[in-house]
């Protein structure tokens, strides 16, 4: 049986607002339990929600950035269910009339052509708190720091067909929300979580099979791994002649398997209705237009521009646009040295490797864009050879100072003075007469040997172009 997976994602993005979705409490991650919750978050009798304007603007920015429709009129609704980490007994969300409908993102799996994945909607809602099952002996604790944190739930159409595509889709949305500055995208802090809907069908069948929903996947890797397991499981069920049960499942990363959620973790009728405490959310068109003008150049457009204006390869342009900070860094370094291709090579090469080695974001790079630019300028000017450039970069990375300081301190300045080099070249040719004869007999491969000897004699500082020229003249 040739089966095809059909996958749709619901991605919850925590918005980078200063206060919560419906209260003035702060949203600092990692604070002591229940220190980031006010009476509204605790659901105290008599308290009322007030929608956070900043969160509303962020949701609208997402809609504009992905080409969706930003609703002039959207409605907050209550999703009713009981759970100790849900203080009011309902979650304020949006149901029938979300703030954003439609839109699309580009999804690229390495080695495959990029695909456009359509978005169904994006809506605002508040987060729930957290149950702490192991914090207290014989009791469950509840931490409401996260309760009321602002979330944007982004729902994709079921247009993804592999775990890799699903992972790439989540990455693409991560790129977009951090690019437009509406989320810090901190995966390890739970700033982005994903529920995946997955079903299998016979390839070519226009109808969808029965789906399961895998809840609460909090990394790109887990999305891919959980979907791989679930595709395998559903495939076995179907090939064995069975039927997939429509249910909600959890991914257990230790077992690398999905299992059904216990019944009690799942309510079946949320009794949605418009929240009478919150009037419909009305956005004047002027407000939305103003937001449109504040949007930065978006990743797709910037990638295209890098290719067209700087002559970069599609792959380099894509890598440089993985985050806005990287693209900004690259352009600043390129401008500083006057060579965009050289900058692209270094940012995707030595810099990326160093960041990766130290597990740093580009924003925390030990070498700033201007500093890297200064180093690259020396390479362009021929003051420094490419090999020594790497050495200087590593020294800069270890905090030894700027490129020029290190070049001076280590005496690394390239020797381009012809008369000095002539003396060295002549000495080497004189002391290696065997190799000279070999060369003259037609074994041109020994040319490299002479270059190496000159470099050794100058501790790598000789200007290779001049050395080549001098050797060729003499040989």
């Amino acid at each position: 049986m040739n089966l095809e997976a059909v996958i749709g994602l619901e991605i919850h993005v925590q918005l980078a607002t200063r206060s919560k979705m419906f209260s003035g409490a702060p949203t600092v991650f990692g604070a002591a339990p229940n220190t980031q919750a006010c009476l509204v978050d605790l659901g105290f009798p008599g308290t009322l929600p007030v929608a956070n304007r900043e969160a509303v603007a962020m949701a609208a920015r997402f809609g504009l950035a992905t080409g969706g429709r930003v609703a002039e009129h959207s409605v907050f609704a209550r999703k009713n269910y009981f759970y100790p980490d849900l203080p009011k007994g309902y979650q304020i969300s949006q149901y029938e009339l979300p703030i954003v409908s439609g839109g699309a993102v580009e999804v690229a799996v390495p080695g495959h052509a990029p695909r456009t994945i359509e978005l169904t909607r994006a809506h605002l809602e508040e987060d729930a708190g957290k149950s702490l099952h192991d914090a207290l002996p014989n009791a469950t604790g509840v931490d409401l720091n996260r309760a009321g944190a602002p979330l944007l739930e982004i729902v994709t159409e079921p247009q993804l067909h592999s775990p890799e595509e699903a992972g790439a889709c989540m990455r693409s949305i991560h790129q977009m929300v951090t690019w437009i500055g509406i989320s810090d995208g901190a995966m390890q802090e739970g700033s982005m979580r994903c529920d995946a809907n997955i079903s299998l069908r016979k390839r070519g069948d226009p109808n969808l099979g029965t789906r399961t929903e895998i809840k609460n996947l909090n990394s790109f890797r887990f999305v891919e791994r959980a979907l791989r397991c679930e595709i395998r499981r559903q495939g076995e069920v179907l090939r064995g002649g069975g039927a997939v049960a429509q249910e909600t499942r959890l991914y257990d990363s230790r077992m690398d398997a999905t299992r059904p959620m216990r019944d009690k973790e799942e309510a079946n009728d949320y009794r949605y209705f418009p929240d009478p405490d919150l009037p419909p959310l009305v956005l004047e068109s002027g407000f939305v237009e103003e937001l449109r003008h504040t949007l930065p150049e978006l990743p797709g457009a910037r990638q295209d521009r890098f290719e067209a204006d700087y002559g970069l390869s599609a792959e380099d342009a894509r890598r440089l646009c993985e985050s806005r900070a990287t693209a900004d860094y690259f352009e600043a370094a390129g401008r500083a040295c006057g060579d965009m291709v050289l900058a692209a090579r270094w940012v995707t090469g030595d810099l990326a490797a160093a960041l990766n080695r130290d597990a740093l974001d580009i924003g925390a790079s030990r070498v700033g864009a201007g500093e890297l630019g200064a180093l690259l300028a020396r390479l362009r000017e021929g003051v420094l050879s490419g090999k020594l450039g790497k050495e200087v970069f590593q020294a800069m990375w270890s905090g030894e100072g700027g490129a020029d300081d290190i070049i001076a301190a280590r005496g690394l300045k390239q020797i381009s003075d012809t008369s000095t080099l002539e003396g060295i070249v002549d000495d080497i040719l004189a002391s290696h007469s065997d190799q000279v004869s070999q060369y003259r007999e037609g074994n041109t491969r020994v040319f490299g040997f002479f270059v190496g000897q000159v470099m050794r004699a100058t501790k790598g500082r000789a200007n290779p172009a001049i050395v080549n020229e001098l050797l060729r003249e003499r040989l």
């Binding site: 008599g46 009478p276 405490d277």
Partner: protein, 492 residues
């Protein structure tokens, strides 16, 4: 002679005829004498009230327009450090850490709290019998109900225990008890007064109001209560007005040019003929003041009780979900699972009427029934509001009796929810449309008071209060005291 109204007491305090302490002591004496029979209070704050009174007398307190006057708050308004029960066992131990906006604003005006008044549990009821703290009785006849849900506030003001009290009106909970207790009950437009700190029953209907001896006193309280509150998104973005200043000057033909529409649908079957007579006398009085009285029809009004008993329970079923025994309120011990903790705490904490409405509300919101009940009720509510809007194209104010009959006996309707619900048939319409409305004492049937209800356009509080004030300048019904009750300070 000192008149026991906010306006009268203001004059007496300013003129040095009494001190705030003397006033507060007089109220506390009366509470001590009469409250054991009336059961109007859930919690008393005598000691702190006396302290506040002394501060006012020594000039140490804020010098607001109501400085030195003790008032009562319905036990649905959160009061910092003072237990707030909403008449429910589930909140028997609940002490809020904050003041409701209404409480805060009236304190800024200089009032202080003498006690929290009894009420139907979570304001669900029309007789003040569903309270966990026992029924409130009507000072005009202790075998009768004062109405509800703000029955404690109404009884306390009617018997002279306090000069004024706050209430809340979801479907008539201020106006109906005011009518049955012979006092003035005022419900401002939805959104005129902040709901922040008012324990929610049905959010789209709940509105803070007042129970006072006169419309003038209602205006004095509204001066301080009204205005935008950034903590309540449904609170109107318009500043409050000086409502009391708009009451004067008042000529003998004060209502000249005011067009009053008698709601035809109120006058049909179900209205006690004696109340019908009272109402027709009331219209004659208004005509005498210059008003043009005509009949108008609100064709969808007969739907209002049905609409209300879908919308209000739906909202209440969700609003009351937070009472789960986890963070505050009653928590039954011995539950061996999360579900047991919920069912045991809520089962023991809520009374029968509240449980009934939660069930109805859950039902009308559930899958498969939502469209047929909740959505249809919302559509009907909009049509009803349109009826009101159309009526206000030809008249300035609507009038009708507040209740179909005078106070009923305690126990008479408590086991028949439909009969109880029908007692609100005249007050629910204006609540669904969010209109400002008032009930003023307007006559007597068998020695029991009955009320006249006036309803205005949205945010026409000043007009409604002015009309009611003109009526009270012309009549004496609001000056009557229940049998055996003398006006405080009257006997000397």
């Amino acid at each position: 002679m000192i008149e026991f109204s906010l306006a009268g007491l203001r004059r007496a305090l300013d003129g040095g005829e009494i001190s705030s302490r003397e006033l507060t002591e007089a109220c506390l004496r009366r509470i001590e004498e009469r409250n054991p029979a009336l059961n109007a209070f859930v919690t008393l704050c005598g000691e702190s009230a006396l302290k506040e009174a002394s501060r006012a007398d020594s000039g140490k307190a804020a010098d607001g327009p109501l400085a030195g006057i003790p008032i009562a708050h319905k036990d649905i308004f959160c009061t910092r450090g003072v237990r707030t029960t909403a008449g429910s066992r589930i909140l028997d131990n609940f002490v809020p850490p904050y003041d409701a906006t209404v409480v805060e604003r009236l304190a800024q005006a200089g009032t202080f709290l003498i006690g929290k008044t009894n009420m139907d549990e979570f304001a669900m009821g029309s007789s003040s019998e569903t309270s966990y703290y026992g029924p409130v009785l009507n000072p005009w006849d202790l075998s009768r109900s004062p109405g509800g849900s703000s029955g404690g506030s109404a009884a306390a003001v009617a018997a002279g225990l306090v000069p004024a009290a706050t209430g809340t009106d979801t479907g008539g909970s201020v106006r109906q008890p005011a009518a049955l207790c012979g006092i003035t009950g005022f419900r401002p437009s939805y959104g005129r007064v902040s709901r922040y700190g008012m324990i929610a029953f049905a959010s789209s209907l709940d509105q803070a109001g007042s129970l006072t001896r006169t419309a003038e006193d209602a205006a004095l309280l509204l001066d301080s209560m009204a205005g935008h509150d950034p903590r309540d998104s449904t609170c109107a973005q318009r500043p409050g007005e000086r409502y009391s200043a708009a009451l004067s000057p008042m000529s003998a033909r004060a209502l000249e040019g005011v067009r009053i529409g008698v709601v035809k649908e109120f006058m049909g079957e179900g209205l006690d003929p004696r109340c019908r007579q009272v109402f027709s006398d009331n219209m004659a009085t208004l005509r005498g003041l210059g008003a043009a009285v005509s009949e108008v029809s609100l064709p969808r009004l007969p739907l209002s009780v049905a609409v209300y008993y879908v919308v209000a329970p739906a909202e209440c079923s969700s609003n009351l979900a937070r009472f789960d025994g986890v963070r505050f309120g009653l928590r039954e011990s011995g539950a061996d699972s999360l579900e047991a903790l919920y069912t045991q705490s809520r089962g023991a904490g809520f009374g029968e009427e509240v449980r009934r409405r939660i069930l109805v509300g859950g039902w009308v919101l559930s899958k498969g029934y939502f469209d047929a009940y909740y959505l249809k009720a919302q559509r009907a509510r909009r049509l009803l509001a349109n009826d009101f809007a159309r009526a206000f194209e030809s008249v300035d104010m609507l009038a009708g009796p507040t209740t179909p009959a005078p106070a009923f006996a305690v126990g008479e309707k408590i086991n028949d929810p439909i009969q109880m619900y029908l007692n609100d048939v005249y007050t629910i319409g204006a609540a669904l449309a969010g209109l400002p409305c008032i009930s003023v004492p307007a006559g007597s049937v068998d020695g029991l008071p009955v009320g006249l209800q006036l309803m205005g356009r949205p945010f026409a509080e000043a007009e409604v209060l002015r009309c009611a004030h003109a009526y009270q300048l012309e009549t004496n019904w609001h000056r009557l005291w229940p049998p055996g009750t003398t006006a405080p300070f009257d006997a000397g």
